[in-house]
């Protein structure tokens, strides 16, 4: 009797469970903490409420490198998530992992969901497509590097509160700011992303051969050109004069600007939200400076941020759900919601137009600067983006060599020569591992 009841309970429980399973779960691992995470969960909830068949479950897995590592380990153990948010430097590694991922274009085509790569900004499409133009991952949160100035500090130094357009003007302003007793004149977040990667695109010079690595794994770095050397030695010189304060390899520069310590700063467009909250002074967001004697400069800047990769080895029904979710994410109003809430760039033309029509940019001057800088000119082979294998390691190498140059341990030429030499070794290793 007792046993019977127990069996009945079990049966009921199993029934309930199988009923719950009728809704297919889509696992989404991401790296959006704090306010960004809330905005991301908002997107998932909106999708889950819009239909009954699928349920997107979001999991915060730590920083970008951490969630990528977690996903790699999960894949090796056979339980990877459906969707993984991967930062831009991991792109080449993901692309090379043919058995581990499913190209987004294929997921969408198989599920017969509409998907038009041309709807995205060309700098975005280029970054995440293979040589044949197939979109491999789904662009999600994109930003770019911007130049911020502290108007109050400029006025105090007797300068007009207008951002310097060229590096010559930056140096002139730096002299004045320093003379006026400004403790930290200029600082930067993400030194390699700003002063090597975006610097190259902005001046239309290659970061590496084979279209910055997009044309094949047999690419080599070319960041020791005379222009690169000149730029890095200029920064080293500024550091020596106390006009450039090195803040670290990630976003440590953000706080140095928003606290008012530094008068000029280059950092992610995504830094705006934090500055808005913390800064007790008048500031502006501007295009990054360029060397005015370089032909064709300024070109356009390249994106940073992350895209969504679809992992392999799942059931066909799951992929239909993934496709549905991505179709949902592609909607202009969803994109606008994400863009205005987070400060990331509107990545489709339609969402950009929609945001402009909504009057958001009139109310938030400067909010469209990043997208204008990204689309400043039609991208060239040098400014489409970059794709280097093991670039997590490669970027570390570049940053180490930059640190040596900024600390005055090496001159700019030998630091960049060493960066190229060490970077190329990493590229060869990657090439050999992915033959």
């Amino acid at each position: 009797m007792k046993l019977n009841r127990l069996a009945a309970t079990f049966a009921a429980a199993t029934l309930c469970a199988s009923h719950a399973h009728a809704q297919t779960e889509i696992q989404w691992w991401h790296s959006m903490g704090g306010a960004l995470g809330e905005a991301l969960n908002g997107l998932a909830n909106q999708f889950n409420e819009s239909q009954k068949e699928y349920k997107v479950v979001t999991t915060f897995k730590g920083t970008y490198p951490e969630s990528m590592t977690a996903a790699i380990a999960a894949f090796r153990a056979g339980n990877a998530p459906h969707i993984l948010q991967v930062f831009e430097v991991g792109t080449a590694t993901m692309m090379a992992a043919k058995g581990a991922i499913v190209p987004v274009a294929k997921v969408m085509a198989d599920a017969k969901e509409p998907f038009d790569p041309k709807a995205y900004l060309p700098t975005v499409t280029g970054y995440y497509s293979d040589v044949k133009g197939n979109m491999l991952s789904f662009p999600f949160n994109s930003s770019t590097v911007m130049f911020y100035i502290n108007h109050d500090a400029f006025k105090k130094a007797g300068l007009e509160p207008k951002a310097p357009k060229t590096w010559k003007e930056v140096q002139a302003a730096a002299d004045k700011l320093k003379a006026a007793g400004q403790q930290c004149v200029y600082t930067t977040s993400w030194p390699s992303w700003m002063h090597i990667e975006n610097f190259s695109a902005w001046h239309n010079v290659p970061i590496g051969t084979k279209q910055n690595g997009m044309g094949g794994f047999d690419t080599q770095f070319s960041i020791n050109s005379p222009l690169h050397v000149r730029h890095i030695s200029m920064l080293a010189e500024m550091a020596k004069k106390g006009q450039f304060t090195y803040a670290g390899r990630t976003n440590q520069g953000d706080a140095k600007f928003s606290s008012g310590e530094c008068a000029m700063f280059s950092g992610s467009a995504g830094a705006q939200a934090g500055i808005k909250k913390a800064a007790k002074f008048d500031w502006s967001i501007n295009f990054i400076p360029y060397h005015d004697d370089v032909k064709g400069a300024p070109q356009n800047s390249i994106i940073g941020g992350a895209s969504l990769w679809v992992m392999g080895g799942k059931k066909p029904a799951d992929y239909r759900g993934v496709a549905k979710f991505m179709a949902f994410l592609s909607k202009p109003e969803v994109q606008m919601d994400w863009h205005t809430k987070t400060g990331y760039v509107p990545i489709t033309q339609a969402s950009y137009d929609l945001t402009r029509k909504s009057g958001f940019y009139d109310k938030n001057p400067g909010a469209d600067m990043p997208v204008r800088q990204l689309t400043n000119k039609a991208p060239t082979a040098n400014s489409k983006g970059l794709r280097f294998g093991n670039f997590v390691q490669g970027r570390t190498v570049i940053e180490e060599e930059l640190e040596a140059a900024f600390a005055g341990k090496k001159d700019a030429k030998s630091a960049l020569d060493d960066a190229v030499k060490r970077g190329n070794e990493i590229l060869r290793q990657f090439e050999a591992a992915n033959k």
Binding site: I72, A247, R249, Q252, A255, V392, Q393, A404
Partner: protein, 293 residues
């Protein structure tokens, strides 16, 4: 005469050590064997393609000047950590040994930092020395010192050494104090009667009698500097600036976990394992002979 327990049963002693052996096999021998196996392979991040490359990973490492530089950093770092850690705690232990009133309070306070996790110790010191907001930075600036360990390599090394030493002092202190208290008072009194001053008494009587403790602590501290300081470094400098604080074990982590280069990282851990074996054997064979028990 040594006392020996003799087991009558043939299997009982083995059964008693079996759990220990099993744990060693699962948590040491097995992973170590895997590291050796991976060190001969070249693999992509996801483990989809694996090639056997022989000693290529090792050859690659020894061609890399920065890997060799990492050896130097590790050596300097370990010597600094072990030496200053031992010296400071010996001084503190000698002082605490003399205190009569409130000795317990002193000892407890000195032992406290041991309860702090290495990563927390790192964060704590990083805050004190933070380039923009640190209180020590502020004071140093008053003395005209431009403190920015984000870019200055010597300052970065100083920071991780200070944090690591601070964390380890309690442990050393505890052992030194126990060692000091086990030295018969009659010996010291005899030396005093013979007219030896405090300094002479310390170096000729106390220090030699402490040598077993010192030797033990030396081994422990070097192993600590090699491996356990990982948390301190990860929480503060992350190996920078320009590899100034990139000790061997941190590079293993960076290349293996962050950069997903399993082969290269395994080759490094095999080398590290080899170094530790050599160091330990050397310490026990050569230094121990000169230790007076």
């Amino acid at each position: 005469m040594e006392k020996r327990v003799v087991f009558r049963s043939a299997w009982l002693p083995y059964a008693l050590v079996a759990p220990q052996i099993a744990i060693t096999i699962v948590f040491f021998f097995w992973p170590a064997a895997q590291a050796v196996w991976y060190s001969f392979q070249l693999q992509d991040a996801f483990g989809l393609k694996t090639q056997f490359v022989g000693l290529q990973n090792f050859a690659h490492l020894f061609r890399d000047g920065n890997y060799l530089a990492s050896f130097q950093v590790t050596a300097v770092f370990s010597v600094l950590v072990a030496f200053s850690g031992l010296a400071i705690s010996l001084l503190l232990a000698t002082m605490a040994d003399r205190v009569l009133r409130g000795a317990l309070a002193y000892k407890t306070l000195l032992i406290w930092p041991y309860a702090v996790a290495p990563a927390i110790a790192g964060v704590l010191w990083a805050f004190l020395f933070a380039p923009s907001i640190g209180i020590v930075t502020y004071m140093l600036r008053g003395f005209g010192v431009d403190w920015n360990w984000i870019i200055n390599d010597n300052q970065a090394l100083a920071l991780v050494v200070i944090a690591s030493v601070w964390k380890q002092i309690s442990y050393n202190f505890l052992f030194f104090l126990a060692g000091l208290q086990s030295i018969p008072k009659s010996l010291i009194e005899a030396a005093a009667i013979d007219g030896a001053g405090p300094t002479r008494r310390f170096w000729t009587v106390v220090f030699p009698l402490l040598s077993p403790t010192t030797f033990f602590l030396l081994v422990v501290n070097i192993v600590y500097a090699f491996f356990d300081t990982f948390g301190v470094i990860d929480a503060t400098t992350q190996g920078g600036p320009a590899q100034a604080t990139q000790i061997l074990v941190y590079k293993v982590y960076h290349d293996g976990v962050k950069a997903a280069d399993l082969g290269g990282s395994s080759a490094q851990s095999v080398i590290l394992m080899f170094i530790v074996i050599v160091l330990t054997v050397a310490q026990f064979r050569f230094i121990e002979r000169r230790v007076q028990y």
